[in-house]
Symmetry: C2
Subunit: 431 residues, 2 copies
């Protein structure tokens, strides 16, 4: 790839880890889509010297484009625009039309709560700073009150700088306008166009996938043109491949190879998420949950999507044994005989949810999240799952999940989603 | 502060945002505790040139200490140790004793699944690379299979480099050993010792706090010696103050000032989290939840803590109106008259949970998370809360929460925690 970029993230709160930086990863994805290679992300606090040092570092590394985030507010520690202007060797000038537009935004914002005229004047004075822009810069209209700018570097062969605000809800809509500016387009003119596609798998170890990819390399002609990164997340393997449009057939061959080798594990060849697939599979159905160790995490995840009320009836968090008996109708002798964490109890929970919520689809989860409660026979991480669909024998599985309390509960929620998917698919296949 | 540090995060998966970097924020906290100023965090992919460029940049910026994370594995793209050695101007040497210790670790790991001898030899060969260490470096024994190293910079006045592995579960236990080495202690010898303390508030806007702090500045002698950062998170304000031990009285005066000005809003003067406070307040009690829009998020949050089974009986996710009636005994005419999102229904849900779970504490939440379902009278973000304690009139509140579906649901969960805290405190005060 012939065009490289760097991202400068400014903000003491981000540097010290009090706020998680969401802009770096988001911009990294946008650059990837564009075919621009991201070489460095640098983070510093609200200190002009540190910001300028990072700009000079990236310029010295020969990047074609620098994107800065943060430091565009009205207060004294917001110093990115002035620092970028100094770096680019241009003066700051007051853009009076921009100042008027910012004032209009502020007037609208402040009209919602009455303020004294003198207070409003003080706010305007503070915000005048936001209308000071580097001479010759292209201005990006604000989403909040802070405009962005796109500035040419200090000399030929030095990077173009895109200056964006810190809040993601402001930065994201401004990005497309920023990259469309003439200066940005000049900077990225030499890029290679790439496609990017994602395959998702579940129930396969990362080392197993590594073996398969080595095998694919020997079998698929042109394999080395594919740039593959794999990542294990929430128990799922995400395989992201970047390739030039002319290598599309090679990519198709890879997907076919993986689908043939792992017909059970490969659940998404088009990048769709398990949550999206479940939502589609639940069309026309009604689901209820019965959760012990996950304590509502599965119900909450099913409700994450807008429109989930079309299929989600509800659920019971049956943390205590009494709740399992009273709220789900689990037979108390079943618990006494097999223990609360057992396959018969998981099935009874799912069946209880099916019946009590008058649903046609239900999931039961009971397990030992730890750190206490484990035994030799049922160590911490033991989780029993059942998926009950009306008119079918319930599916039941017991797994031992790795990690701490939080890992076990999160993994159990994901496992439940995948068992639910398989059972819904099996049901529709036999219907 | 007289000692500055930089962190170099390596790894293409981190640079491209596919994995979130947890090490930077964690190390930032450790440095803060030590009284070392963190100047820069830089992130790059698994490319030796980029890693070395970042090391040179930080050295040129005059930092006293560099910490690198990642790139210590056995594969070809794990190149941090070799790059640091080149940067420091020392050779890599094979430490045969370290090699034997790594082999012993691998033997133990691999004894769990049988492998052929030749495969084991291949693994050993790959891992030999991990026993190549910079000449003169102090070695940090591995937590996984990757040892860390601490290396003196190329010359006097250049930074000491601490090289740590990427996985947080390996990096974190190795940190205390790394900073205890003679080289690291030399690098940070000139640091200033600081204390750090946290105050938490809820129900106050950030601008209100800014006003209060300006006021505190005029009233509290020595205020400017306090280094205060504020952060709004999950609807709570977190106020973190760093100060030298001699300014302890000034910090106490600030906390007293805030506590007097905001007796309702300041809920934690010692940094304790609302979750910890709720766990303590629930000692000897039994709680149940009744959730609509949050759909299990409150129950799941109450179950986050180990030992929560002592007080959490369970909950109902009553997403549909039928579930509210059937599972919680909410009067259907109440829903027909006032709507599912209404204070009478929130109270009936809390009371239903109290009764059905035989609990003495219950929370009901019903609201419109959006994006659909809003009306002029009850716009998206309208959420009704009720806290019912046995023997007391239930508390009820209606709020309009800002943001999108996910924001509204998360904020509603936090609001419920705070209403629960206030009601439990009021109950114990009148008991």
């Amino acid at each position: 790839m012939s065009v490289r970029a760097g991202i400068v993230v400014t903000g003491t709160e981000v540097l010290t880890g009090r706020i998680q930086d969401l802009n770096g990863p988001w911009l990294a994805d946008r650059l990837l889509e564009l075919g621009v290679e991201l070489a460095h992300i640098t983070i510093c606090g609200d200190r002009a010297d540190d910001v300028e040092a990072q700009l000079r570092f990236l310029a010295a590394e020969g990047v074609d484009l620098i994107i800065t985030t943060g430091g565009l507010g009205p207060t004294a520690d917001d110093l990115t625009v002035a620092t970028v202007a100094r770096f680019c060797g241009v003066e700051l000038v007051l853009d009076t039309e921009l100042e008027a537009r910012i004032a209009a935004i502020l007037r609208t914002l402040m009209s919602r709560r009455p303020v004294a005229d003198e207070d409003f004047d003080a706010v305007l004075a503070a915000n005048r700073k936001q209308a000071l822009v580097p001479a010759g810069a292209e201005i990006l209209e604000p989403e909040g009150t802070a405009p962005g700018v796109v500035v040419d570097g200090p000399a030929d062969g030095t990077p173009v700088v895109i200056v964006l605000p810190g809040p993601p809800r402001e930065l994201q809509p401004m990005w497309s306008r920023a990259i469309a500016t003439a200066a940005a387009q000049r900077a990225i003119a030499g890029r290679t166009e790439y496609r990017q596609a994602t395959v998702r798998m579940f129930g396969l170890a990362e080392s197993g996938l590594a073996d398969a990819l080595r095998d694919a390399q020997t079998r698929i002609a042109g394999f080395d043109a594919l740039e593959i990164t794999t990542c294990l997340r929430r128990g799922e393997l995400e395989i992201v491949t970047r390739y030039e449009p002319e290598d599309d057939d090679t990519y198709r061959a890879l997907v076919d190879f993986l689908a043939e080798r792992y017909p059970q594990e490969l659940f998404s060849a088009d990048g769709s998420l398990i949550d999206e697939q479940i939502a589609t599979l639940l069309t026309g159905r009604t689901i209820a949950t019965a959760e012990s160790c996950t304590a509502g995490m599965l119900a909450a995840r099913l409700a994450d999507r807008a429109g989930s009320s079309a299929y989600l009836a509800g659920g019971v968090v049956s943390y205590s044994n009494e709740a399992k008996v009273e709220m789900l109708g689990v037979d108390a002798t079943l618990i006494a005989t097999h223990g609360a964490v057992s396959e018969p109890v998981a099935i009874a929970m799912a069946r209880g949810a099916l019946q009590r919520f008058e649903a046609d689809t239900a999931v039961g989860i009971t397990g030992i999240a730890g750190p206490g409660g484990g035994s030799a026979e049922k160590p911490v991480g033991t989780v029993c799952f059942s998926v009950a669909l009306a008119g079918r024998e319930p599916l039941v599985r017991t797994l031992r999940l790795p990690g701490n309390r939080s890992d076990v509960r999160e993994r159990a929620t994901t496992v439940a989603m995948h068992l639910l998917r398989r059972e819904l698919l099996a049901c529709s296949a036999t219907a």
